[in-house]
């Protein structure tokens, strides 16, 4: 098959074409690996776990952001052709490798970390698994922070400051986590100018999430919770 791979760096680049042998069980990551191992030893890309758990290997495949280790060639091949490029909306390091730091900086900026209400000396809290709050929190917990939603998001594209779907989905998980000690503060954070109210519910995040999560719905609910929180005076911990 004919594979076009983008090569370059932050200053620019171009597509180069490679003829790659087709195999029965072949992922996009396998195709890219074949090129590096056999055709162009200087081609750069990133991967780690090979099985869709680490979220390191996302790329644009025929124009769509995908996890490449779990994307079968047959699923995406168009007229015997593949076009592979670095992920949208993040700075390019080299070839197919992007700098993911802005994505993680926003994850933290959106309050994406636990604030303890107990210590290691305390017993583990009994928490019923079937409450609404816990179900809401569970809905986004399997995010592998692969940046596919972030690359798919038109709002991130037009407003580089926007926190983006993954970070806001994490915030929604936290707002529903009864163990978190400062949930009100997270609702204040996501209500700022770079936060959840930028989302126009275009739904690209949900459409592209490789784990079938629903960041769009999480953000919609986060908006409602943030408004409710502001009306109640904001600031205080929920």
């Amino acid at each position: 098959m004919d594979v076009a791979i983008w090569k370059g760096d932050g200053a620019g680049g171009q597509y180069e074409h490679f003829a790659v042998p087709a195999e029965d069980n072949q992922t996009i990551l396998d195709v890219v690996s074949w090129v590096q191992q056999n055709a162009d030893p200087t081609l750069s890309y990133r991967f780690a776990c090979r099985v869709g758990m680490c979220g390191s290997c996302a790329m644009m495949v025929n124009g769509t952001p995908r996890w490449t280790c779990r994307t079968h060639v047959k699923k995406v091949l168009k007229d015997g052709q593949l076009k592979v490029a670095p992920l949208n909306n993040l700075p390019v390091v080299k070839d197919l490798v992007v700098d993911m730091d802005p994505f993680f900086d926003k994850w933290i900026k959106a309050g994406g970390l636990h604030a303890p209400s107990k210590t290691r000396d305390d017993d583990i809290a009994a928490i019923a698994p079937d409450t609404d709050g816990r179900q809401n929190a569970n809905a986004g917990i399997e995010c592998i922070n692969c940046s596919v939603c972030y690359a798919a998001c038109d709002t991130v594209r037009s407003n580089p400051d926007y926190l983006g779907p993954a970070a806001l989905q994490r915030a929604w998980t936290i707002v529903n986590d009864e163990k978190h000690a400062a949930r009100g503060a997270v609702l204040d954070l996501v209500a700022q100018s770079d936060g959840c109210f930028n989302c126009h519910s275009m739904g690209s995040c949900t459409a592209h999430c490789p784990n079938d999560l629903d960041p769009m719905q999480a953000i919609a609910r986060l908006k409602r919770a943030a408004i409710k929180h502001q009306l109640a005076g904001g600031g205080r911990d929920a």
């Binding site: 030893p41 583990i124 592998i144 922070n145």
Partner: protein, 587 residues
């Protein structure tokens, strides 16, 4: 060539290598315990929270918090599982501190593990254990642990050196202490030497020198290869754990070797040979539900019997449990198989034993200190806690417990340490020259050599071993090393040059393959993961020894040391009198 090589120098106080459970916990605990103003740096071969294997943990975390369970019982299971080879003080610390670490994960780090309907932690059964002990988040426990730890680390003032590959542990001129670590900043392709008062190595073992292997692609035994070159003693190096059911999808795909989870067999999955017949009962009365080592040997033996070249592995079949049930119960696994073109719920999926975990590692004390001042080792890079076999669920417990211990220990030790130590510039130059070896040679095909090494280790130092096979293996490894030293890499750009890193990966893997093989020859009995067809018996438990390998000049020497039964002797138990042998129903 050397004229092009840039070397940058950088200083910190506490340097941590690796971003799995060990590295992230070390960073957090160092920050909590070190004097104010201590600079902490986290260096990783990939991205923080993404590379490494803790993230890939499916099963869960062993901790004695379940009804009726105790640290004593967890400890006895660990010792029995390790066939009396574990360092007992390390195994005890592991089981005792796992309780604290799981509370820390839940209460301070923000993990949420699965609950019973009444809100209590859910503990699931795992093979080889006498209590339901394994806490988990579905079958994606590692993602929950690492995502939460990663957030904590990223939000703190901890310096990040991402895509910095460690290539040498550099001692002081008198060799009495560690000066720092030499890296390649992979993104820019430059060398960077970082001095530190204390260094924790948690790069993760990862036996990826086998044809079929489960670990993350970044793992290539770099840590152990560096420790070997520094002259540190390595223990239990023959102990490679194979997982019985790795996916077999062809040499051309990185999916091959990845794990099909243990739970498939536990739930009643069948293993079938080429004729479509179940075979595990020929090898063990528990059939498919036997322990990992037994099932791996059963599959391997059956593979040797098979003369059909079109079928390499055996098959796992789940459809008799009802395809719909399988799709529900093993949603993630079914989807993963489907993504690579296989129908796990209703079809057959070809499987092979796959190298999964490395029990061997650097000799450390229970505080993670090593034989050299300034170096600490935790996680899969450290040997001793598991002996000859690691229980499912004890891996993530080990990395997180001992990563935290290392952070605490470094935080205390650094208070009594003076200034940064200067490196032995000769060693530094030699390490740089070593890494540059392929850049001055004609470009060859590194991947061919990787395949050769993987074939050699699988065939001659794999699931079942003999002296003849391992001697042949040593010769093959020596030939491969010679070929590697002659194989060059296109160095027209060194920035993110993966082929250069493939070469360096091969150098680490080749060195440690030799150590595994020599340790395998030195153990003339069969324990846990190490099975000798020419010495099939376990030997006298009371006279148990472990192997210690060390570099002596260019050669590797392996000695035996007796296991010190500091807590319990073979045939005895520390469980109170009258305690049942097992708490597991229908065990």
């Amino acid at each position: 060539m050397t004229a092009r090589i840039q070397i940058e120098r950088h200083d910190t106080d506490i340097l941590i290598l690796g971003s799995g459970g060990a590295g992230l916990f070390a960073a957090l605990h160092a920050q909590q315990s070190a004097p104010a103003g201590t600079k902490i740096t986290l260096a990783v071969k990939g991205l923080i929270g993404k590379c490494g294997c803790t993230r890939m943990v499916q099963g869960g975390y062993n901790v004695a918090l379940g009804p009726g369970d105790s640290v004593e019982r967890h400890f006895m299971d660990t010792i029995e599982g390790g066939k009396w080879l574990p360092n007992q003080d390390m195994a005890w610390r592991l089981c005792e501190q796992a309780v604290v670490r799981v509370r820390e994960l839940e209460n301070e780090i923000g993990c949420f593990f699965d609950r019973e309907a009444n809100g209590a932690l859910h503990h699931k059964a795992f093979a080889g254990q006498t209590a339901d002990r394994t806490v988990h988040k579905g079958d994606l426990t590692g993602i929950e642990i690492i995502n939460r730890l990663m957030e904590q680390v990223l939000s703190r003032p901890i310096e990040r050196l991402q895509e910095h590959r460690a290539i040498g542990l550099i001692p002081t001129r008198d060799g009495a202490a560690l000066s720092g670590v030499l890296f390649i900043d992979m993104r820019r392709g430059v060398f960077r030497f970082v001095r530190a008062k204390t260094v924790m190595m948690g790069t993760g073992g990862g036996p990826t020198m086998y044809k079929y292997h489960t670990p993350s692609g970044d793992k290539t035994m770099d840590g152990l290869a560096m420790a070997l070159r520094l002259g540190l003693p390595l223990r239990d190096m023959e102990m490679v754990q194979f997982h019985p059911t790795g996916l077999l999808a062809g040499d051309h795909t990185r999916m091959t070797g990845t794990v099909l989870e243990e739970g498939l067999r536990g739930a009643g999955g069948h293993l079938l040979n080429a004729a479509g017949d179940r075979f595990m009962f020929d090898y063990d009365g528990r059939g498919e539900r036997a322990t990992r080592d037994v099932v791996s040997r059963g599959i391997y033996a059956e593979m040797r019997k098979n003369n059909n070249p079109d079928q390499v592995g055996m098959f796992i079949s789940m459809k008799h449990l009802g395809p719909e049930t399988v799709r529900q119960k093993f949603k993630g696994m079914v989807k993963r198989c489907a993504d690579s073109g296989f129908d796990l719920a209703a079809g057959l999926v070809e499987v092979v034993p796959t190298a999964h975990y490395f029990m061997g590692g650097v000799v450390v004390d229970p505080d993670t200190r090593t034989a050299i001042e300034g170096l600490y080792v935790a996680g899969e890079d450290a040997g001793g806690a598991h002996g000859s076999n690691r229980l499912g669920g004890n891996g993530v417990a080990n990395s997180t417990v001992y990563g935290g211990v290392a952070g605490d220990t470094m935080g205390q030790d650094i208070a009594r340490m003076g200034s940064l130590r200067d490196p032995d510039e000769t060693v530094l130059d030699a390490e740089i020259a070593r890494a540059c070896t392929p850049l001055s040679r004609k470009a060859g095909h590194v991947q061919t050599l990787r395949h050769k090494l993987q074939e050699a280790m699988w065939e001659d130092v794999g699931v079942m071993r003999t002296a003849t096979g391992m001697q042949r293996g040593l010769n093959r490894i020596a030939d491969i090393r010679a070929e590697l030293m002659d194989t060059g890499v296109d160095g027209s750009t060194l920035a993110f040059n993966l082929t250069w890193h493939d070469w360096l990966n091969m150098a680490s893997l080749t060195d440690i393959s030799e150590v595994i093989t020599k340790a395998g020859l030195a153990r003339e009995n069969s324990r846990g993961a190490h099975y000798r067809e020419d010495y099939p018996d376990a030997g006298d438990l009371a006279a148990s020894y472990f192997t210690v390998a060390q570099a002596a000049g260019d050669a590797v020497q392996v000695a035996r040391e007796n296991v010190a039964f500091t807590i319990v002797k073979p045939g005895e138990t520390i469980l109170p009198e009258g305690e049942p042998d097992t708490l597991v129903a229908n065990a």
